[in-house]
């Protein structure tokens, strides 16, 4: 069979295309292995650029749409106001005694502080409300972006909560935004010091990740424990670390205790209290300390 010039050119093109396809596939594999050894985090410039675009997109598009959506949900909520008002009035009756008790306790704490010359307690903190600009669960890195930054006195390492409990810590800050690394990150860079209220005892540990297959936060216990109370509550301990997390921020309830086969490590699995399905408004917690 006589090969024409067209056939020869066709064959050459096919071979070239095959080589390019193989090179692309090899490049994907090589880059994947290469990524194992280098950090995947964005550089500061990339983060600044992507955060700025995300904030602009939030204020131009998402916030107006949310405003319209909220109007409808508020209208629906108005219909339930009468019933809710009735329940709240009943609760108000017991509120007066709680308020009086709180006043007494606050006064005693103040007197104790004056006596011991302590200005701030480890559990004292201030909060700053922030809106969530992006919450991309598809991105694998379990981060959300807030609409406050260093201009709002937000710093790296600060704890972030929703109405029910802790959700994460601030991992990076720009002037107008802050990135929160959630507790559900499967490969965290920082450990959060925690305490577990076990009846009259307090146990201490380090929260070191999230077990995605069990759906629980994982804590390595530093204290010895023989028996753990069912649904023991877990809080931040305010000890160690970078000193940014105050004492007493609620994290969740303990569900399972697991001892390693050689008995060296005890792991506690905790069900998080925060609602990670709906993160719209959060509070950034700032520890009040003697450096203020």
């Amino acid at each position: 069979m006589i090969k024409t010039r067209g056939d020869i050119l066709n064959n050459r093109r096919k071979k070239r295309n095959k080589r390019i396809l193989i090179s692309c596939i090899v490049a994907v594999f090589v880059f994947s292995f290469f990524s194992l050894f280098i950090s995947r985090n964005q550089t500061k410039i990339e983060k600044m650029f992507s955060n700025s675009i995300a904030v602009v997109e939030y204020y131009l598009i998402k916030k107006p749409i949310s405003f319209v959506g909220d109007l409808f949900s508020e209208y629906n909520a108005l219909k339930d106001v009468y019933q809710e008002n009735k329940i709240l009035k009943e609760k108000l009756n017991s509120y007066a005694s709680v308020e009086a008790n709180t006043d007494v306790l606050s006064s005693e704490i103040k007197k104790l502080k004056d006596l011991t010359k302590i200005n701030y307690l480890p559990s004292e903190y201030k909060t700053k409300t922030a809106g969530v600009v992006t919450r991309d669960a598809s991105n694998w890195n379990n981060e959300i972006l807030l609409d406050v930054g260093s201009m709002g006195n937000v710093e790296e390492g600060m704890v972030v909560c929703d109405s029910q409990g802790m959700i994460g810590t601030i991992s990076s800050v720009t002037e107008i935004s802050a990135t929160v690394s959630l507790l559900t990150t499967q490969n965290p860079t920082k450990q959060v010091p925690v305490m577990i209220l076990n009846g009259n005892d307090t146990l201490y540990g380090l929260m070191d990740g999230y077990d995605v297959n069990r759906g629980y936060l994982s804590i390595t216990l530093l204290s010895d424990v023989e028996k753990l109370e069912k649904n023991a509550k877990v809080y931040t301990s305010g000890l160690g670390g970078d000193g940014m997390s105050p004492k007493g921020i609620y994290i969740g309830t303990s569900k399972k205790l697991s001892v390693k086969s050689d008995g060296t490590t005890t792991k506690l699995y905790v069900k998080p209290a925060a609602n990670f399905n709906d993160l719209s408004y959060v509070a950034v917690v700032k520890k009040v300390n003697s450096h203020e």
Partner: protein, 177 residues
């Protein structure tokens, strides 16, 4: 810069913004226990436009789209750029010069989304960003994403077909007017 390339890039930008809006309002859980759906309208439109874009604009178009997606929405710069270039190359290699039919485009879009998801999951697994089991990943993320995007594909295909974004197809000269 070529006017046609600018027009294509603006269309892709609008699609990426729609993706981001959908991600913001679709129910998502950071606990990875429920279903996670990722809209890929931008990738679908890229696949359709790649079929008809001029040869000399194909790879710059892919690089810009991939780079933009990586920088703004992704966390792995080179991988998305590489993936978009691979899609551009394979799209050109295995498709006819004439326009996609509905089912041809659907098949190609599903394969593209599947490839991107699997490659990114593999990269995340290799770099220990995730320890999600593959079966859980396929049931909770991959399958719902593909099904959702098949529905989204109909909208994108309709817009792409009716609005005649590329202009008229001159079959004798093989270029769009």
């Amino acid at each position: 810069m070529n006017k046609r390339l600018v027009r294509y890039l603006l269309i892709i930008l609008v699609c990426f913004i729609c993706d981001d809006l959908l991600k913001y309002y679709l129910p998502q859980s950071f606990l990875n226990k429920g279903i996670t759906i990722i809209p890929y309208l931008g990738l679908i439109m890229f696949t359709l436009l790649n079929n008809t874009i001029d040869e000399d604009m194909r790879y710059p178009f892919a690089l810009i789209c991939g780079g933009f997606y990586s920088l703004i929405y992704g966390n792995s710069l080179l991988m998305y750029m590489l993936l978009f270039v691979v899609f551009a190359f394979v799209g050109r290699l295995y498709t006819k010069k004439s326009k996609f039919t509905y089912f041809e485009a659907l098949l190609f879009v599903v394969l593209t989304i599947f490839t991107q998801e699997v490659v990114i999951y593999w990269l995340m697994w290799m770099t220990k960003v995730t320890k999600l089991f593959i079966v859980t990943y396929m049931l909770n993320r991959l399958l719902p994403t593909v099904i959702f995007n098949i529905v989204g594909y109909n909208l994108v295909y309709y817009i792409h077909d009716k609005l005649k974004i590329e202009g008229d197809n001159n079959v004798y000269f093989g270029k769009r007017s």
